[in-house]
Amino acid sequence: MTSRTATDVADLEAALAGLRVRAPSTLAATTLVAVGLADEYATMPSPIGPVFVAWNGRGVSTVAVAGDPARFESAFRSQVGRPIRPATAIPPRLERALARRLVGDRAPIALDLRNRTEFERDVWSKALEIPRGEVRPYRWVAAEIGRPKAVRAVGSALGHNPIPLVIPCHRVVRSDGLIGEYSLGGPSNKRTILAAEGLDHDELERLARAGVRFLASDMTGIYCLPSCHNARRITDAHRVPLRSGTDPEAAGFRACRACRPDAALRAA
């Protein structure tokens, strides 16, 4: 091996030190999104037109009616307290999961619900269980999560749902059959979304005005909430409308195991 001088060594070391480079500018940003300390967002189609969807490495964090991006970003920053930046597109895997959710597939989807109360998370998890194209009363949700007296708080938690459409708070309506409030742009949007899921809410309201609370079958002896998929299968000849004030059990019917109409009764 050739003899080496101090200068040689210094040159070699300087050349190696010259191999230090700056990280690409995308590295810090994508890392912070991956650990959930920053979010990205993009637009997604929905029955009520385009909506903004925000997400981070922990899951979907926000859905909001798409409008002025600057306004959405500043609202997000002040409400959520994290930086947010536009993405060119929703990551393919997330986009597929969202699409599946919106057509009623209940395959799990990651949601970022940090810094929310246990009560809110209970209410939203319960809403996630309601099948597409069906509705449940606020009172039913309250009873199902073991807080039968907290009907008003359930309404308020649903109003604060940060991920509407994905968490289907539009499937929770008033116990008197009226459609109730909707955080994603008001009650008419709620009607539109339910219609897109195949539910005619006007029909439900007509039933409610006529005092009908449940639909029962004299074939099976089972009673349901009116929008339950089992209620829709009852043929005209066997459909027995049960009005408020009627005790279905006393009338010889048992509660459907799918829609659990007795939960709403217990809370009444």
């Binding site: 091996m1 050739t2 080496r4 040689d8 060594v9 070699l12 070391e13 050349a15 190696l16 030190a17 010259g18 191999l19 230090r20 480079v21 700056r22 990280a23 690409p24 995308t26 590295l27 810090a28 994508t30 890392t31 912070l32 991956a34 650990v35 300390l37 490495g57």
Partner: protein, 207 residues
């Protein structure tokens, strides 16, 4: 451990103190202070800019998750630079194994290619460098890529990143004496490879 002793333990910026107190609030500082060195190490270990960015990001995400699971005392006792380096090098090893690139050993002493046949991505982050400097960076990167892994890690950590032998010993889990010998041997291999490459250049120019 308080701030003063954390500083005494080689954390002059008080970063471990901040991380122990508020991980989410301080993590961005960790990213910004460590990203260049983690990316540089990964780039020189793997030789590919995209792989290096992915591995550096993965290392930082794993570090975040680990920190989130540690109690405050454990975070205060961490030596961040070597700790992050260990996480990064493990990921580099996994990545290299998956890719299984064709490399020729430089210490074989037998026939050697002029340039090890590892593709080293052009350094896209120094667009203002002169062509000469870029050429030199490419050559050195390529020579390093041809080193056997144990010498490559030692050379990259010592001379590209500038870790102390004490930090390297923590990061690589090898005694300092072994590391000094590996750095020494690695430099000798690099020098020999450079001389061979230059000799070939001369032959080609006169051919």
């Amino acid at each position: 451990m308080d701030i003063d002793s954390a500083v005494a333990a080689g954390d002059p910026t008080g970063l471990t103190v901040a991380l122990a107190r508020d991980l989410d609030g301080a993590f961005e500082r960790l990213v910004l202070s460590q990203q260049d060195r983690l990316y540089s190490i990964a780039l020189r270990m793997l030789g590919d800019a995209r792989d290096a960015e992915e591995v550096a990001q993965d290392a930082l995400v794993r570090a975040y998750r680990a920190l989130a699971s540690y109690d405050g005392q454990r975070i205060l006792e961490l030596q961040l630079r070597p700790w992050l380096t260990t996480i990064l090098l493990n990921l580099c090893r996994n990545r290299a194994r998956r890719r299984a690139p064709v490399t020729l050993p430089l210490d074989g002493g037998g026939e050697l290619d002029l340039q090890p046949p590892v593709l080293v991505a052009a350094d896209r982050h120094s667009p203002h460098d002169s062509a000469l400097r870029r050429e030199s960076t490419r050559r050195w990167a390529s020579l390093i890529a041809g080193l056997p892994a144990r010498y490559r890690a030692a050379i990259v950590l010592r001379h590209v990143d500038g870790l102390s032998y004490a930090e390297m010993s923590i990061a690589l889990g090898r005694p300092e004496g072994t590391l000094k010998a590996q750095v020494h041997r690695g430099l000798a291999l690099l020098r020999a490879a450079l001389e061979r490459a230059e000799a070939t250049d001369r032959r080609e120019m006169t051919a």
